[in-house]
């Protein structure tokens, strides 16, 4: 009986969270429409919002593009969300992702290793880049945000420098000004498609990456909710003092938590580049990969829930792909980012929405109870 109670309690809470996120999305889209209208009122709906909402499903190829972009986003979302759950803000996902990309591409292009080893290398380098801010936080009490931001840039310039190597880097293809295409130089390092690309209009970048990401999401969920390790990590996140009092080694947990977060982001990069969604361009060196920062959005929209992250990532990728299909005659593709930003901004209010929804549910229940009472 007790089990049942906790189950129904849990699911109603989950329902409220999901409903609150959906309210955020709806209002975000409505405000997005307003923004579109301000830029170009005439085309705001038909050529604007509708394109963003429809394009992702319009052709198998578009669907494939959405999926190919979802997989790495799930990973960076998990990375940020995992750290959130343990009381840390991993703003370094972009840097960890960068290192992960380097690890994956080096093992693929230079060493011609099979894809799973490349993925492992991505994971290891991401973990390393996550561990460093963790160590600083645990032993010197330096805020992880500051260290992580610095290591984002250190990582980016280092990776770019090695890859470019003044035009002679082993991974640098002079003709495309990017890293060599895996399809040409090391097809064995590509994540297998297992028929996925045939399903999605022969788009080669659709691979089993999406399933790998979902498996990771489930694993993170299990670790956080079912294991003693997750129990300790969350205890540290909620109340460091109480965790210490209970004999939990909080320093170790901070480092482990950041290491795992880094590993997840690193895998994200591996999934992206080993699926050949794109090549790395070491000369566009002023920007960190957006995938890392979008992970923050994805985690926020999902309230850091690992399973929720799958869906929030899918949604964000979906409207981002939609954004790229906007006619450049009327809008720029960044408009999708604006809409995502509005939605994320609204997520800050999700607690408010949650309370509203809860009050509504309660009022509903009371009135049905009152009705029942009247009948009896």
């Amino acid at each position: 009986m007790d089990k049942k109670r906790s189950f129904s309690l849990g699911s109603s809470e989950a329902f409220i969270s999901v409903a609150a996120s959906l309210v955020c999305i709806a209002i975000g889209l409505a405000l997005g429409l307003v923004v579109l209208a301000i830029i170009n009122a005439e085309h705001a709906f038909g050529d604007g919002l509708l394109v963003i909402l429809k394009s992702g499903l319009q052709s198998p190829r578009n669907m494939g593009t959405v999926l190919a972009n979802t997989a790495p986003l799930i990973m960076t979302g998990l990375s940020v969300g995992f750290a959130f759950k343990t009381g840390l803000f991993n703003i370094g996902a972009a840097g960890q992702y960068t290192l992960g990309a380097f690890g994956a591409l080096y093992c693929a292009i230079v060493l011609h290793l099979p894809w799973y080893l490349c993925l492992l290398a991505a994971m290891a380098l991401g973990a390393l880049w996550g561990a460093i801010p963790g160590i600083f936080k645990a032993y010197l009490n330096i805020n992880e945000v500051i260290t992580a931001i610095m290591f984002n840039w250190i990582g980016l310039y280092m990776v770019n420098d090695i890859m470019y190597g003044r035009g002679q880097g082993a991974m640098y293809d002079l003709s495309s000004t990017k890293t060599y295409s895996l399809r040409k130089v090391s097809p064995g390092s590509m994540i297998p498609s297992c028929g996925m690309s045939d399903l999605f209009g022969k788009l080669q970048s659709v691979t089993i990456a999406i399933f790998i990401a979902i498996l990771f999401a489930i694993a993170v969920y299990v670790v956080l909710n079912k294991t003693t390790f997750g129990y300790e990590l969350k205890a540290c996140g909620f109340n460091k003092n109480a965790a210490q009092y209970a004999g939990i080694n909080d320093k170790r947990n901070i480092i482990l938590s950041m290491t795992i977060a880094g590993a997840l982001a690193g895998v994200g990069a591996g999934l992206y580049y080993l699926s050949t969604v794109a090549e790395w361009n070491p000369q566009v060196s002023t920007a960190l990969p957006a995938m890392g920062f979008n992970g923050i959005s994805s985690a926020l929209l999902a309230c850091s829930n690992p399973i929720g992250t799958i869906f929030s990532s899918l949604f964000i990728s979906y409207i981002t792909v939609g954004g790229t299909k906007l006619s450049t005659q009327y809008y720029t593709k960044e408009i999708a980012d604006v809409i995502t930003a509005i939605i994320i901004y609204l997520c800050a209010f999700s607690l408010l929405f949650k309370n509203r929804i809860r009050a509504l549910l309660r009022a509903n229940r009371r009135s049905t109870e009152a009705l029942k009472g009247g009948e009896e």
């Binding site: 007790d2 294991t227 003693t228 390790f229 129990y231 003092n241 009092y245």
Partner: protein, 508 residues
């Protein structure tokens, strides 16, 4: 004109799953001190929040001077002359006393709103003189004592010309001397025509200042009585609903071998080299309760931190059951040592965890609660339900209640249940009854005694004089980090104890 300045008639306030106030009527006469007595969770704070406009009641009406009023928010309350001193002060720490008092009603002149502080200062000084509320208007709030912070809060109400003053458990944070002074101030305010509502669960204070007393129990109004003609026993029975045994029934026991032995323990502060715990030696034996007494801040907290491993000790040895644990980790120590911490929110509980998760906070990693790193939820639930029943921990949703949403008394019970059930030979209890009501205090003291009778060693740290004299078998008094006295509670008076605590006398 009505005899009453404020009347709350048949107030009903519901929260999901609980009726916090059920048809409560409270009538406040002009110029009286009216106590509102009840255990934690009886509905006192809810009722006052209704009066102060923080909650809207589902039923009932509020009258001021016989006229029905609606109080939608604290601004309405303020406009009606109702002011409140909250249990946790609402002061800006980095502002001066004067700035805090005028905050929100700053006197200003001209279209630019130039502050007229001189005027405000004059009024504050006048008020402070008239009511004997000594404050330094230019001192920063963060630098002044808790007593002066409270006087600042009272001045805030007076500055706004409030006539109805609500005091929410005002003595919980004060020293005995400060309490005496507050009592005097309250009487002075009443004599000047202010009407006071005084929320408390301390019977002595009610007897000392209140004219009448309304007693709440479990959201219901038990009655309003005249304080002068009602005994403390009658009041406590009204509050708890049964006879309360405030004096403990203690059987003499011959203590056994030493469980905790402390030798020359020294703990230094992190910032300066001053010793917070200075060369302390003592032991606690099986079957005895040893109490560390002293005024707050004389090294008791640091001593406990060093004993439990939360702080490193600089010198000396700690032996637990004969084993040297001076450098052992917290987890190693907790194999033989239970610890009811001083601050249940900071250390004792993970407030965002459920009750059951908190009940296994020190054992989750052991079988049967986990197996190969995976938690066994069914076992945790079964264990938690057992403890909840045995220790009568009450909460809205049983084992799955968030610790944050539980009352202070029940949070403390949960910690006690967890620590006692570990079955360790040593129990360290730091201010285990702080901020709790009579019923909970009685319960906790009995549990400590039961531990002693079961042959465990109990180290109690307390700031409450009656607890120090009532509960232990031996008293050690700490002053400026050192133990200055060892006393036998049977032959010690409160006055004598006070001399040791103030450092005026020593015998070791």
């Amino acid at each position: 004109m009505s005899e009453y300045i404020i009347e709350m008639l048949n107030i009903t306030k519901e929260f999901p799953g609980i009726i916090a106030n059920d048809q409560i009527t409270l009538q406040l006469k002009k110029g009286e001190i009216h106590a509102l007595l009840g255990e934690n969770g009886a509905g006192k704070s809810t009722l006052m929040s209704v009066l102060f406009g923080l909650y809207q009641p589902e039923k009932g009406e509020i009258r001021k001077n016989g006229e029905t009023v609606r109080i939608k928010d604290p601004n309405d309350a303020n406009a009606l002359g109702i002011g409140m001193v909250h249990q946790h002060f609402k002061l800006v720490e980095v502002f001066s006393v004067l700035d805090n008092i005028i905050l929100g009603v700053e006197p200003a002149q001209g279209p630019l709103g130039v502050l007229q502080k001189a005027e405000a200062r004059k009024k504050v000084l006048e008020l402070s003189e008239r009511y004997g509320l000594k404050v330094d208007p230019d001192a920063m709030v963060e630098d002044i004592t808790v007593g002066m912070q409270q006087r600042t809060e009272i001045l805030k109400m007076l500055y706004r010309d409030n006539e109805v003053l609500i005091f929410d458990e005002p003595t919980a944070v004060l020293t005995p001397q400060e309490i005496d002074e507050l009592m005097k101030i309250m009487k002075g305010l009443a004599a000047e025509g202010k009407s006071i509502l005084f929320i408390t669960h301390k019977l002595d204070e009610i007897k000392a200042v209140a004219d009448r007393c309304t007693v709440l129990r479990k959201g219901r109004c038990i009655g309003t009585v005249d304080v002068a003609t009602t005994s403390k026993e009658e009041l406590s029975e009204m509050m708890v609903g049964r006879k309360v045994q405030l004096v403990m029934d203690k059987q003499p026991i011959e203590p056994g071998e030493s469980v905790l032995t402390v030798q020359n323990l020294t703990v230094k502060g992190r910032r300066n080299a001053k010793a917070l715990v200075n060369d302390v030696s003592f032991n606690v034996r099986r079957g005895e309760i040893v109490c560390i007494a002293g005024i707050d801040g004389n090294g008791q907290s640091e001593l406990v931190y060093a004993l439990t491993g939360l702080m490193k000790s600089d010198k000396g040895k700690i032996y637990l059951n004969g084993q040297d644990v001076t450098h052992a980790s917290i987890r190693e120590r907790s194999a033989g040592m239970s610890h009811i911490p001083e601050d249940r929110h900071k250390h004792g509980l993970v407030l965002d965890y459920t009750l059951e998760d908190n009940l296994v906070l020190k054992r989750y990693f052991k079988p049967p609660f986990s197996h190969r790193g995976f938690l066994n939820f069914a076992e945790i639930r079964r264990y938690a339900n057992g403890l909840i029943e045995r220790f009568d921990v009450r909460s809205g949703q049983g084992a799955t209640t968030l610790a944050r949403s539980m009352s202070g008394g029940n949070q403390q019970k949960a910690i006690i249940a967890r620590e006692i059930d570990m079955g360790n030979d040593l129990l360290i209890a730091v201010q285990p009854t702080r901020g709790l009501d009579v019923g909970a205090i009685e319960y906790i003291r009995k549990e400590l005694l039961a531990q002693r009778d079961a042959g465990k060693a109990v180290l109690l740290v307390s700031l409450e004089l009656d607890e120090v004299l009532e509960v232990p078998d031996r008293i050690l008094v700490m002053y400026e980090g050192a133990i200055v006295g060892e006393l036998d509670p049977r032959y010690t008076t409160a006055k004598e104890l006070g001399l040791y605590m103030a450092g005026a006398q020593r015998n070791v």
